[in-house]
């Protein structure tokens, strides 16, 4: 293992993040605050408690997940697409490093950035609503697993994308709807039966449910199902990355 190379990639990517610090931190913090003001304070005050939790608190786990998922995907996909776009990717190919080391460096950096932003949003949430975390370790585990698995997904997206439009289209058309319909703002049990069944095909439902369980000890689906779902998603991403690694798809001609 070429750890020096992994460290180099990791810190180079993190440096980009800190260079654009305002954009990196402020944008998610401001948009989350707006969600709290609109849904938590304005509309939330007219909504009765959901599963025994005030609406403002109920949306906290979903909002964190929403941000962590979108940030993981955009960080990782951009991180690997950008060198492809400006041509510095050839430097990675000519370096004495394996594809695995490239993945660890880029995915590690993308997941770390998403985690930092997730933590900031959690911290921001305390300013707006009262809540406590029932299972802090489980919460942390969910957060770490989610950021890693969606960073892996973002990495695949960045390798696949041939232009900036393709880079945006998957998050826009697939991920955002899945996350919004994944129970960020409501409990699945609030939906009509047909939509409850349809929701069960949305992988994000399991994530948000498990994450909410870590906060409030209440969930739409059993916690073990949530863990299996995210494990399965991570496994699929790893398989795809392994395949890219073997075939050099969209990487090496």
């Amino acid at each position: 293992m070429n750890w020096t190379a992994i460290r180099s990639i990791f810190f180079f990517e993190m440096a980009r993040f800190f260079r654009t610090i305002a954009q990196s931190f402020l944008a998610p913090v401001i948009s989350t605050s707006l969600y709290f003001v609109v849904f938590g304070a304005a509309i939330g005050s007219r909504i009765q408690e959901v599963e025994g939790i005030s609406y403002g608190a109920f949306i906290v786990p979903g909002l964190i997940m929403l941000t962590v998922i979108t940030q993981s995907i955009s960080n990782a996909s951009f991180g690997i697409y950008f060198p492809k776009f400006i041509g510095t990717f050839s430097e990675l190919l000519a370096a004495p490093i394996s594809f695995l080391e490239i993945v660890i460096g880029y995915v590690g950096a993308a997941a770390t950035k998403a985690l930092i932003i997730g933590a900031i949003i959690l911290f921001t949430a305390f300013f707006f609503v009262d809540f406590s975390i029932e299972h802090p370790l489980a919460m942390l585990a969910f957060l770490v697993l989610t950021s890693i698995s969606f960073s892996l997904f973002g990495f695949i997206l960045g390798i696949w994308a041939g232009n900036f439009e393709q880079l945006q289209i998957v998050p826009l058309l697939i991920v955002t709807p899945l996350v919004f319909l994944g129970g960020s703002f409501y409990s699945i049990s609030m939906l009509p039966p047909v939509w409850q069944t349809i929701s069960m095909f949305n992988p994000v439902v399991y994530l948000i449910s498990g994450f909410r369980w870590a906060f409030f000890d209440t969930a739409d689906v059993p916690i073990i199902t949530s863990l299996l779902a995210i494990g399965l998603f991570t496994g699929i991403c790893l398989l795809v990355i392994g395949w890219i690694f073997r075939t050099g798809w969209r990487i090496r001609q």
């Binding site: 070429n2 180079f12 430097e91 190919l93 000519a94 090496r252 001609q253």
Partner: protein
Amino acid sequence: MPNIVEIEDLKKSYKGGFEALKGVSLDIREGEILALLGPNGAGKTTLISTVCGITTATSGSVKVGGYDILSDYRAARAMIGLVPQEINLEPFERVINTVRFSRGLFGKPRDDAALEQVLRQLSLWDKKDNQIRELSGGMKRRVLIAKALSHDPRVLFLDEPTAGVDVELRKDMWEIVAGLKASGVTIILTTHYIEEAEAIADRVGVIAKGELMLVEDKDKLMARMGQKELEVQLDESLVEVPAALQSDALRLCDSKRALIYTYDTRAERTGITSLLAGVAKEGLTLRDLVTRQSSLEEIFVNLVHDGDNKPGKEDAA
């Protein structure tokens, strides 16, 4: 001199069937400067990219310092530095950071003293904290060289280092390359400028249509390419070359109204003065004088043409 790079029967076909390399074999000696001359699309960049690991060969083998580039890719690539043709740099990154990153990628521990030496050698030290976008084109090219040298490679590939560079910068680049050779680095550079090969190379390889047409010591090749023709156009037709003027270098043009004299531009005496004196002595009237030098492109075309006629050669398809 031992060989530091050994390329054997390297072939590369792209999807769609285009054959970029049709079985190239080439040994590169340690410490030399080898210039690969060839027109655009000849396969120069593909050859370099394959040795450096950016593209995968369809068949054939490459060893760098005795290490196979596939089975021992870490050891092989650690010895190589690559200066790509395109200026691929992150515009907002600082010079020192991007060079430090390159060194790290090659698994070398941070060593600011070594990087300072590289940057000073390339006159980049006072620009080390500048963002890439603030640099001129020539400076950016130097940054690419600094990145390639950051991990102390023993072999340096320069892919058209002076394409689109003005004359002064080109001279600078040649000096840099000479300096690198003096420090013991083996240098392979591609170019389509014959003067460039002439100015700095020890050996010259000519590559065209995916084939290595020849590899020769520069001096021998230059002698072949330095031939020039002088066409002495006359007012009257001749039957044959006048007896007093007869020599191997002189022949009668097909139109019979001109004499064609072949000479070496770099010879001590080209013989033009005595030729013209002889022409005057014969009482011939000059109409015009034209000199011609076969262009590099022409030489390539001839070489490729000769290659096609080689007996027993497989079809290019």
